[in-house]
Amino acid sequence: MTPADTTKRVLMLHAGVIAALFLAQFVLPEYHHGVLARVMVLAAYATGYTLLFGYTGLLSLGHAMFFAAGLYGAGLTVYHLGWSPPAGFGAGIAAGLVLSVMVGFVALRTTGVAFMIVTMMLAQAVYLASLYFGEWTRGDEGIVLTQAMRTFEIAGATIDLSLPDERFNAALILYACSLLICLAVVRAPLGRVMVAIRENEDRTRMLGYDTFQAKLMALALSGTLSAAAGASYALLFGYAGSTFASIHYSIYPLLWVLLGGAATTLGPLIGTLAITYMIDVTSGFTSAYLLLVGVMLVLLVLWSPNGLLGALRDRKLAWLP
């Protein structure tokens, strides 16, 4: 297969996935329609996460701080300052970009376990800050964005993000953009350098690459995509609370990505979808549903450590990005 053929296949696959998600809204029953919208926002988060974890090999245990930066960047400006949803979305992305660059300068001085701990500590600081400034964030209770706050006009049309169809399609646009950005990055020279750093950082430096700069770019991209997902979450589901800054929301993207396939573009979507439904189904008949999900994850990691798509790529489809 020539490189041009591979490119064509890859583009068709990704366009096909986006088209399938678009068509799903016409056939899914109301409940699953809502679940899928939520899954797409969280999959966008996981897609941002895998740029750093899967492709660059940096295991962050603090990505909730970037998700929360977007969530509060959008939530607080819309709630307290009366900004329109698009302006709030912009504020969320800007907050994520600034935070991820700052975190990068501190955390990227470390590697391995120290990097995990530093990112986890910084995320914990963000979580505690969200509780400390309870006057504005209302801590665990959170702030609720009303329907009026989530409605805006663009090109003469009124868009109300609290309506299911608008919400679904906004989530789809977010996910599609994240997916295509991720695909473009991993196929670009930067993506090749990110993978090289994951495989052998010392060798990459001796090929003339400023590995600190490349890791900082990967972290900034990853943090900003995560923040975009967080901002969308606040605007689409009308709620911003401290729970989303807690350690759980740093661990979730790791689990979604591990299940779907760490260094794959579509793995985050598959992992998020699978785990969401695993929890949904098992919680229907037992209160120990997290135990069941945990056992399934352990089995999966034992049986296929590269995740679902990773296993597929190893066995059949070597061209998967």
């Binding site: 495989e199 001796m206 090929l207």
Partner: protein, 247 residues
Amino acid sequence: MAALEPLLTTRSLSRRFGGLQAVANVDFQVQRGEIRAIIGPNGAGKTTLVSLVCGRIPASEGTIVFEGEDITGLPAHTRVLRGIAYTFQITSVFANLTCHDNVALAVQRTLLSKQRWGRLDRHALTAEVMAALERVGIADLAAVPAGKLSYGHQRLLEVAMGLALNPRLLILDEPTQGLSDAEIASFCDLVRTIAEEATILLIEHNMHVVMSLAHAITVMNNGAILAEGDPASISANADVQQAYLGG
């Protein structure tokens, strides 16, 4: 006169690791276009010296001048762009990437440094990757993951990655270690063709390889230069024989 200026000069270059003086006050020069071998017993400081030159290890004291400019404070990746390429003693190719992708990383670096922030020309990339693999004779293995190659082929891939950086100074750290006699012979031929374009600094234990390739030999012992000269004078040198054979 520029033509007589050495490519590389070190002045009182030193490196300590705790109490161990790995390289001590080394004044060392490499002339343009030569193949220079560095020999010496294990622990003599050969790898530390070239690591100081390529920037993997910072110097404790002294200066390094390359192409007339002081590079002592530059980070390793900047030195690579200036033309110093290092091939690792312990083969460290990217095992999970194909040979093509291994070399593509090096080619991409040179292409991007020529046209900053420009788009990478994929055709030029592929052409240069294949040219580098062709030169070391493993073009037919382009699609094979580097980790699946034989040891000898991995060493050749290392050299191809070094070549793809278009170096002015190529540092080969024990390149023939672990190769068969037949592989060593063709490796020597390869080094001679590379030497037509680049200066080569070779750390090597195999004296047959050193004697047949080197224009000049530097002998190190205990972190210092013991002797320097052409192959004939080095093999006749009594100090060198004592350092190697004891006595």
